[in-house]
Amino acid sequence: MENVALILMEVVSAILCFVLLRFMIEPYHTTGEGRYLGLPLGFGFLGVSYIFMGLSLYFESLLFVEDLKWLQLFTQAYAFAFLAATYYFSKKPPERTRLWWNITYAGLLFAAVVSYLVVFEQPMFGLPSYKTVDEYFRLFNIVCLAYISIHTLRSHVSQPDPKTIWIPLSYLLLGFSQYSSLIWSLDSSFAAFVGAHLLRIAGLLVFLVVVYQSFFGLRHAIPKEGIRDEEAPT
């Protein structure tokens, strides 16, 4: 029963990520600038990482469960790395950093492929214990999410607007979720375990609200209905 609830949490998280992915691709689609590609890649990798986790819970007695857990670990870290890279490059002038963001994204993709190969074709000396690596990866994720939260918060403070406060909040929720997972990994606290899952779902739901407000709830200069008969602003 407990496992069913956990699998359900992973499935819901993955669905939320893939719904968000559909909208996160829009900045790249509209501007054509590669630096915004990290946003859909990040949410795509995040969704895939939740699928790996869900599969590892579903097939818990099979041999390849360990492989799935390692894949989840790597995929989630790359997701946050892609998101952090997008925010880093978004504040830089595009004409000067085009080469750097191409190198960064290509490097991250290459590293992802190599780490997946390592999972399936392990080196002779073996991999360190999953628990230790998991803790280091959680720390890495927290650093990435802290960077993004500070970036988005600074952007909100520089131009205060009530509608820009939600995204720093959602990244903070994801960061606290990673922190709770780390605490759970260290002391096996049940509250930290439940908290990590709830904070993650809450964070993704805030993203969903922001997407809904942007794409379906915005009052445009040009209304959606009555294009032909509209009143232009005076």
Binding site: T31, G32, S90, P93, S155, V210, L218, H220, A232, P233
Partner: protein
Amino acid sequence: MRKLPRRDKLKIYGDLLYFLHTESKKEKVVLTHVQLKTNVPFDRLKHYIDELKELGLILDEPSLKLTDKGKQYLREYETVLDFMKRMGLIYE
């Protein structure tokens, strides 16, 4: 003096279409006025207007105004810019 950030073509198109939309009630849109508002040199402005006409986003009869396709483009552009602002992404 603070240097203004360089705008790419997409942003210039967006500014140009938005300005033409706000001026759509006027009988005649004066190009010099458009040039001042969008801050584009006159020769390049004429080039951009030709491109927008070729793309079917604006009409020049009897005066410059947005087509339905132009309005659709401006609406989508505005939505994505708003989304990027909410996401804390800088686009300039």
